[in-house]
């Protein structure tokens, strides 16, 4: 990740964080579908990034969102968990020839099908941890599953829209 990419990544995280805090904080479609658009920041980190910085970056982003949500630890917990899963899931999804060195895990570069199978399970894992921790000991398991499923679908939908609208074809993140 060179300096220019770093700047544009920070910019991306700030914009996504602001949108999350200002517009999506109290949004819940039908009471079950939440949106965690800031996860696009973690999802679109380069394929070659090492585990340790990935975990630390996700922890930081989660903490940032938590400060505004007044749910300290909740987003952090789930985002770190998702970051932990990401390399293993990428390994499973590896195409035959391996990944291209310079490629990014974005919709434009990897194609629609790949992106769907990449982001949906990861956001589902995130939501599962998020809602389990949120309703610890009080919520029914089915309710958590229900919320997680629809939240991950909604998040991925919005992530696809964001990438189609704002990511350039060869964006240097």
């Amino acid at each position: 990740m060179n300096f220019r990419n770093l700047i544009s990544f920070i910019f991306l995280v700030l914009i996504l964080g602001l949108v999350q805090i200002l517009f999506l904080k109290n949004l819940a479609l039908f009471g079950v579908a939440f949106c965690f658009i800031y996860l696009v920041g973690i999802l679109s980190l380069p394929l070659q990034i090492r585990h340790v910085p990935l975990l630390l970056i996700s922890f930081g982003i989660g903490l940032l969102i938590d400060v505004f949500y007044d749910t300290l630890g909740l987003n952090t917990l789930a985002a770190t968990f998702m970051a932990f899963l990401r390399p293993y899931w990428l390994k499973i999804l590896r195409p035959n020839g391996g990944y291209d060195d310079s490629s990014q895990p974005t919709l434009q570069e990897m194609g629609f099908g790949w992106f769907l199978s990449y982001s949906l399970p990861l956001t589902f894992g995130f939501s599962l941890i998020f809602f389990t921790a949120d309703q610890w000991g009080t919520g029914a398991f089915l309710g958590i599953l229900n919320k997680s499923l629809f939240s991950s679908i909604f998040t991925v939908l919005l992530a696809i829209i964001v990438q189609l609208l704002f990511f350039k074809r060869r964006r240097g993140i």
């Binding site: 009471g31 340790v52 975990l55 922890f59 400060v67 007044d70 630890g73 949120d134 919520g139």
Partner: protein, 278 residues
């Protein structure tokens, strides 16, 4: 020894993961204890100012509604004031402690609020500089809203009534039986009235108000209206559902109440070794 170090180095990402998760869980637990003084929340200056700007913009569009509510509240207060005004020829008596001002009221604006979690919070635009202290009760003209949790110089964070952790001591107005209001985390318009014994004749439509037993709220602030009474499996208590009078999706201006004798009560409770409810 070298082998062990090499082994640990190989596992470093996993170990870091465990460390970060433990840290997050610690934050989560620490932050949820009602008395925990939290720095990392929306009462810190930067987060507060961003949320305040957002609320400025949003409130602009609900000014008419807020005005309406204030006018209604004002007229009600004027009416009360009128009935309390002394006749000019009346005799002035020394009041005893029953009538001395036990509660002080302040106003504030809600600049951030959440509804959708199991533990919801709200942020107010007043802080310790304006005399806000942790433990003060929050309500608006419709009913109880919550309780102040932590305070910074210019902002305060409150636990919303829509929070699993908050119990509010309350009574059924018509019968006088007391219980505790607690939110079950499902619907933002309903809460449960707990610990009401089975023999109580609770009717659908009865009003539930604060009891004044705890040192937080004065007596007779609205909480909700009973919407359902179920004789459930619990052998001791009724399962009562209450429709909250406060519409949490649009609270903008709130009042804060401070019990000036809270300290005295606390010491008394401690002396007599009673556990304080809050």
């Amino acid at each position: 020894m070298l082998r062990i170090l090499q082994f640990l180095y190989k596992l470093r990402s996993f170990l870091l993961f465990i460390l970060l998760e433990v840290l997050a869980i610690w934050l989560l637990v620490q932050n949820n204890s009602p008395q925990g003084a939290a720095f990392f929340n929306s009462s810190n200056a930067m987060a507060g100012s961003i949320l305040e700007t957002q609320s400025d913009i949003r409130d602009f569009f609900s000014l008419a509604e807020a005005n309406q509510a204030l006018v209604v509240e004002n007229s009600r207060l004027l009416e009360q004031l009128n009935s309390l005004k002394m006749e000019p020829d009346s005799i002035k008596l020394d009041l005893d402690s029953v009538l001395s001002a036990q509660f002080e009221f302040k106003g504030a604006r809600v600049i951030s609020n959440s509804l959708r979690f199991a533990q919801n919070h709200l942020t107010l635009n007043k802080g310790s500089l304006d005399g806000i202290e942790p433990g003060m009760g929050i309500f608006n003209e419709a009913g109880v809203v919550g309780r102040v949790k932590s305070v910074s110089k210019n902002y305060a964070v409150g636990i919303s009534l829509l929070n699993n952790d908050l119990l509010i001591s309350s009574i059924i107005k018509s019968t006088g039986d007391f219980g505790s209001i607690n939110w079950d985390g499902k619907n933002s318009q309903k809460a449960k009235l707990l610990y009401v014994p089975r023999h109580v004749q609770a009717q659908v439509g009865d009003t539930v108000v604060t009891s004044g037993y705890s040192a937080v709220f004065p007596r007779n602030i609205n909480i909700g209206v009973i919407s359902n009474v179920i004789q459930s499996g619990d052998p001791n208590y009724l399962d009562i559902e209450v429709t909250l009078t406060t519409d949490f999706s649009k609270i903008s201006y709130v009042y804060l109440v401070e019990n000036t004798q809270a300290n005295e009560l606390d010491t008394l409770y401690q002396k007599s070794e009673l556990p304080d409810e809050f």
